[in-house]
Symmetry: C2
Subunit: 219 residues, 2 copies
């Protein structure tokens, strides 16, 4: 992630406020008292539209119009749609992580912190606005491994993996790196199941995570 995440990253891609960016320009200005500029409005509208409708289905015309900005300004700010895709994902990535990853896990035991992440995941996937994980959606839809947005998606997903690895180490897992990979497999699989609607038991991911913690002695 080459860019600092802006202070206005609390809105569109979060999935809870998925329809906010196209009409409501207040989100990015929250706490600052300033209306967002054209660049921030483009980032918000792009993240919202790409998340709700898909990257391929949304053209720069629609993003510009939704942001109330000319297409020329869009190109001046971002140069290309590919760059807009990458930067809008980056600008909202922390808000996406914030759906399930607390900034500070506090003093709770590692096992409890890990299970809390899966409970938060369950709330996210059950919400009306849930349309998958923006990082996974981006990596899935953009076939080119060299697309700049794929690196952004990967970097954010690695933050979650690193959190799992740190917690697994603190919890004295038998093999913390393996447990971290197992937990992120369950995490992303739960997201896919929610998108596809093929699971029957809403507690599948949480109980799987608990069983994996048990197997590695993280009590």
């Amino acid at each position: 992630m080459g860019r600092a995440v802006t202070s206005g990253a609390s809105s569109a891609a979060s999935g809870n406020t998925g329809s906010a960016a196209s009409g409501d320009t207040g989100s990015a200005a929250a706490g600052t008292g300033h209306a967002p500029g054209p660049r921030q409005r483009l980032l918000d509208a792009a993240a919202d539209l790409f998340y709700r409708q898909g990257i391929g289905a949304v053209g720069v015309d629609l993003v510009s119009k939704s942001a109330g900005v000319s297409k020329r300004t869009m190109y001046q700010q971002f140069g290309s749609k590919d760059q807009l895709v990458a930067e809008s994902l980056d600008a909202h990535g922390m808000a996406v992580l914030g759906q399930y990853l607390p900034a500070d896990g506090g003093d709770a035991p590692p096992r409890q912190q890990i299970l809390a992440i899966f409970r938060a995941l369950g709330r996210w996937t059950a919400s009306d606005k849930f349309r998958g994980c923006p990082f996974v959606n981006t990596a899935t839809e953009l076939a080119d491994p060299g697309h700049p947005a794929r690196q952004v998606a990967r970097d954010y997903k690695l933050r979650l993996r690193d959190s799992f690895a740190r917690l697994a180490e603190r919890g004295r897992a038998a093999d913390p790196q393996l447990l971290a990979d197992q937990l992120i497999v369950v995490f992303d699989g739960a997201i896919v199941q929610a998108v596809m609607g093929t699971g029957r038991r809403a507690d599948a991911a949480q109980t799987a995570a608990a069983a994996l913690l048990d197997a590695q002695g993280v009590g």
Copy 2:
């Protein structure tokens, strides 16, 4: 799945022969001695192109050209791109499942059959042509839950879930339906991790599956 899967379903979407359909028209005729007709060529080209490049990135012009068929014929055969997406996924769905799900698991113990599915998954995700699961890609890229291809994708994914559930029952799992959901979560999560390249340990999914089988007493 409203359509019978054709005998030519062994090619494009399988991921192992991902580049076959666009130039090689022999795949659908294998074993029959007949060259495939325009409809089959369109199904093969569509499945291959949508899988490799993404649904949104591939227009009907490219599919028709790759199949050596006029766009008019494409519309006569399928009516719309949406229908072509759905039918091409359906026509190649069994070949996708065949990558990891044996038609007949034989007499091996259920635990061994389940772990064999995960070993096959590992081979698939490690192959050069792997570009994710066509069912997951389709459901992820098409935001409209009512798109006809999403139902096709869901139906095929449910076949895998049903296989897990049957094996879990035969293996006397403590809660076979929960185990089936847990296993498909791990299965799809492993696919996402392979697409994103965020895992470190290639054995994460297989060891997770084994731990979940252990937890449910499937020895």
